[in-house]
């Protein structure tokens, strides 16, 4: 594609900002956001301590003032968002000023540190932000495995251990809900569908900053005593916990809001901003996966938000949603939480399916086999994920007559998941496979997710689940599903798409070291957990039977190697992006999909003219890339 005027302007660069530094810092930016966030936090804290009724007497007397902390977090987040400039547009619209599309944004690197409505900037913001919290979660995991090197508590106390487990699980499950949609769907869906932007650019930016605010709030739990519930936040522990629990509640509520808005924006974009000729049957499979995930986000996350608000009310103003002594029920929490929680598993897994199916046709030089079957699989998984949640409650005392239904529905959900595998294998069949790093991660995904999926079928059986519930077997299962299914595909996406996003190549030797070390150590870490679970090792305890020590030491050492493999990745990022700086080609994988047909770095406008799509994205075997021959007038 030829260079546009805007691109030419961009390459020559904007006029230099001659204002002094102090003047540039005044305005709506990250610095202002932090200042207003901290100010809001203390304002909320102050107001919470001024409320003086008999209901809060206990809280004030024990200095466990949940009202103050919840208000502090809420005011802090509002202040943070106002500082970034998110209140400007609503206020303008309230005053009757006309709608507009863009904020008054900085022109240089400052765009990455504030409200930006360019989907490419938001994608990169997500990539860095999520990477930061992934690192925090991973460090927690290393500390957990350090503690489990001994069969009695040595490194941290039992309560701190529970907090470590809780922060690790919550950080990973919460932040990674947007792990692929945040960086990759935000960046590439508009490019893949031939659009210039997301449908709601400010909402897109808001989802990112909400997630970041949430991440810091969760990390702050250590200042308030942590929380003992793990990532599920179960009642009645939730209600009995110290103020650190409030950090969990606000974090997950913010994640929920971010998920709803992200999903809504994705669906609206995919439905309304597709280029001419890009029919539903020509949509790239990654876009379909994004669509299916977004539907789950929009429908499941509101349940989570409502549940956490009920929980906050129970903790702060003593309502009785989940408190048995007041007429509530802790099982209500379990039901509501898992109505969100099981779709959440697919919110994590589906984008991984999409990435793998998107990438393998490129590396086997074949069209995607069973395109419609794969779509049916993804939509089937989305739909069915709402009908399986009670399998998490098999041992919680649910009506025994309900168990067979939920056992069967859980087993049946493996059928649409199997469609994805069939498409994966059908595409590989007789393909000319090139074992690039992204392809290696895709192959590893298949291996890992197969183990995760089949162990899930085993666990769906009531008799098995009642034996293995709460054991390391369950932990091994979901780590194979989430790390094996999501994190491996996340790295596949990084190695595949980051050269387009950042314009620079990764060092391939380091990347291959990263892959092999990660793949081997991941399996060496989590495969023995199945055995440990069968041998009776329970989750969330730091004291265990001495005969389990040997396997635990093996697992811990493997986990440290897994952590080391992440350091290799980090070294590769720093080496490739800061020191080596080898420019990436515009289309290094010779892909035919639309995002690779634009120059690197991608122009601000994405496309000089909106392309007209005249073939599907996996049409390997014809020489012309899609959309390259024709264009439609701008705005068509």
């Amino acid at each position: 594609m030829s260079t546009t005027d805007a691109q030419a302007q961009a390459v020559s660069g904007p006029a230099p900002d001659t204002r002094p530094v102090w003047r540039r810092l005044i305005g709506f930016n990250l610095l202002t956001a932090v200042i207003l966030g901290v100010g809001g936090y203390y304002l909320g804290w102050f107001i919470g301590h001024q409320i003086n009724t008999s209901s809060f007497a206990y809280e004030k007397a024990t200095d466990e003032n949940d009202v103050a902390l919840l208000l502090a977090y809420a005011f802090g987040v509002v202040g943070f968002l106002i500082g970034l400039g998110f209140a400007n547009y609503p206020v303008e619209r309230f005053l009757g000023k006309p709608a507009s599309l863009r904020e008054k944004e900085g022109h240089g690197t400052s765009r990455y540190f504030g409200l930006c409505t360019d989907h490419k900037v938001v994608g990169i913001q997500y990539l860095v932000g999520i990477g930061l919290f992934l690192f925090v979660g991973a460090v927690n995991a290393m500390m957990i495995r350090t503690e489990l090197l001994h069969d009695t508590p040595t490194f941290v106390g039992p309560n701190q251990y529970l907090t470590l487990v809780g922060v690790h699980g919550t950080m990973m499950m919460g932040i990674m809900t947007s792990g692929i949609l945040g960086p990759f769907a935000n960046y590439f869906v508009p490019l893949m569908i031939g659009a210039r932007r997301m449908a709601f650019p400010r909402v897109e930016a808001l989802t990112f900053w909400l997630l970041m605010a949430g991440g810091f709030i969760l990390a702050s739990t250590i200042f308030f005593g942590g929380f003992p519930t793990g990532w599920t936040g179960y009642e009645p522990l939730n209600d009995q916990a110290v103020m650190g629990m409030d950090s969990y509640i606000i974090f997950f509520a913010l994640v929920g809001i971010s998920m709803v808005l992200l999903g809504l924006n994705m669906i609206a974009t995919i439905i309304t901003l597709r280029a001419p000729g890009l029919t539903w049957s020509r949509l790239p499979i990654f876009v379909w996966a994004t669509f299916a995930t977004a539907v789950l986000m929009v429908l499941a996350a509101p349940m989570l938000i409502a549940t956490l608000l009920m929980s906050a009310l129970d903790r702060s103003i003593s309502t009785s949603f989940f408190i048995v002594g007041g007429g509530g029920s802790s099982f209500l929490f379990q039901n509501l939480f898992w109505f969100f929680g099981h779709p959440e598993v697919y919110i994590l897994a589906l984008p991984g399916f999409g990435i793998v199916l998107e990438l393998i046709p490129v590396f086997v030089r074949k069209p995607l086999w069973g395109y419609r079957l794969a779509i049916a699989g993804m939509l089937g998984v989305s739909l069915m994920s709402f009908f399986v949640w009670q399998h998490h409650l098999f041992v919680s005392g649910i009506n025994a007559d309900l168990r067979p239904f939920y056992m069967l529905s859980t087993e049946i959900i493996s059928v649409p998941t199997g469609f994805i595998f069939i498409c994966f294998m059908g595409t590989l069949w007789r393909g000319r496979m090139s074992l690039t790093v992204p392809m290696l991660f895709c192959l590893a995904w298949a291996f890992n997710f197969l183990i995760g999926g089949t162990s899930g079928v085993v666990l769906s059986d009531v008799a098995t689940d009642t034996q293995l519930h709460g054991s390391f077997f369950v932990m091994a299962h979901f780590h194979y599903t989430i790390v094996g299914g999501l994190i491996f595909s996340f790295f596949a996406a990084i190695y595949y798409w980051v050269p387009k996003m950042l314009g620079l190549k990764f060092n391939e030797k380091l990347a291959k070291w990263h892959f092999w070390l990660m793949f081997v150590s991941f399996n060496s870490t989590f495969l023995p957990l199945f055995a440990l679970g069968i041998m009776g090792m329970p989750r969330r305890v730091s004291q265990y039977e001495p005969h389990l020590l040997g396997l635990n030491i093996w697992v811990s050492i493997s986990a440290f190697v897994l952590g080391f493999s992440m350091l290799i990745f980090l070294v590769n990022v720093i080496y490739s992006m800061v020191f080596a700086r080898v420019p990436a080609e515009a289309n290094p994988w010779h892909s035919k999909s639309l995002e690779w047909q634009v120059p690197t770095p991608v122009p601000v406008n994405n496309f000089e003219q909106i392309p007209v799509i005249d073939s599907d994205p996996y049409d390997y075997g014809t020489p012309i890339p899609i959309g390259a021959g024709q264009t439609a007038p701008a705005g068509a």
Binding site: D118, L264, P302, I317, T319, G327, P583
Partner: protein, 225 residues
């Protein structure tokens, strides 16, 4: 094609934006479709949010833990409840009328929309008054918790919908005032802002009408069943 990345700060990311460069806007009909889709999705999300409260109501009522579901003295005020739901429903009807008048190019639509706005805010006020006169509080058992939680978050949703409606009324009034002063239309990245009011208004009306439906279900569940 060689990357231009090495010329940029950190050698990566997207190009810096030159001052004055803008992403061309979508045509108004695309913006309208986008808003219509968003309104429907928002309805889906709102439904599932309140479904959690409906589930809590049914679950806790059927359990009646320790007989504490609803102590005998707990009765929400029927009069205030009826007034609340009446305000919500009439406001939604007024907004529908406003939408139809707008499509018929009748200038009276602004008055109808203002009426809808006032009635929606009146519903919020009525519910707040009810909180002060009812004979139970949020800590008085499971029913009281569901009642207060459900109705309070419903009020927040109503306020959100009223805000959305207000932005369109305010835009229309400001545009009229500008025309009255003989000023030219504003120049911005959306060239014809007036054309975005109608699809925006349609989306807001759709959402508000849907929310009114949830209000009726709320009323029936909390006051009548």
């Amino acid at each position: 094609m060689a990357s231009q990345g090495e010329n940029l700060p950190l050698g990566l990311m997207v190009p810096p934006v030159a001052a004055g460069s803008e992403i061309p806007p979508e045509p108004p009909d695309v913006a309208g479709r986008t808003l219509a889709v968003a309104a429907r999705l928002l309805c889906g999300a709102t439904t599932f949010f309140f479904l959690a409260f409906l589930f809590a109501y049914i679950y806790l009522r059927s359990l009646n833990q320790n007989g504490l579901w609803r102590p005998p003295h707990e009765h929400p005020n029927q009069g205030w409840g009826a007034a609340f739901v009446a305000c919500v429903v009439i406001s939604a009807i007024a907004s529908i009328v406003a939408g139809r008048q707008m499509k018929a190019k009748s200038p009276a639509w602004v008055a109808s929309a203002l009426g809808a706005l006032v009635l929606g805010l009146a519903a919020v006020a009525v519910q707040c008054i009810e909180y002060t006169v009812q004979n139970f509080g949020p800590t008085d058992g499971a029913y009281a918790s569901v009642f207060c939680g459900w109705s309070a978050f419903y009020l927040l949703a109503v306020l959100g919908a009223m805000f959305w409606l207000e932005t369109h009324v305010a835009s229309a009034r400001r545009a009229r005032a500008r025309i009255g002063r003989g000023e030219p239309p504003p120049t911005g990245d959306i060239k014809e802002p007036a054309r975005t009011i109608s699809p925006g208004m349609d989306a807001a009306i759709f959402y508000w009408t849907f929310l009114a439906g949830i209000g009726v279900i709320t009323y029936v569940t909390l006051y009548l069943v």
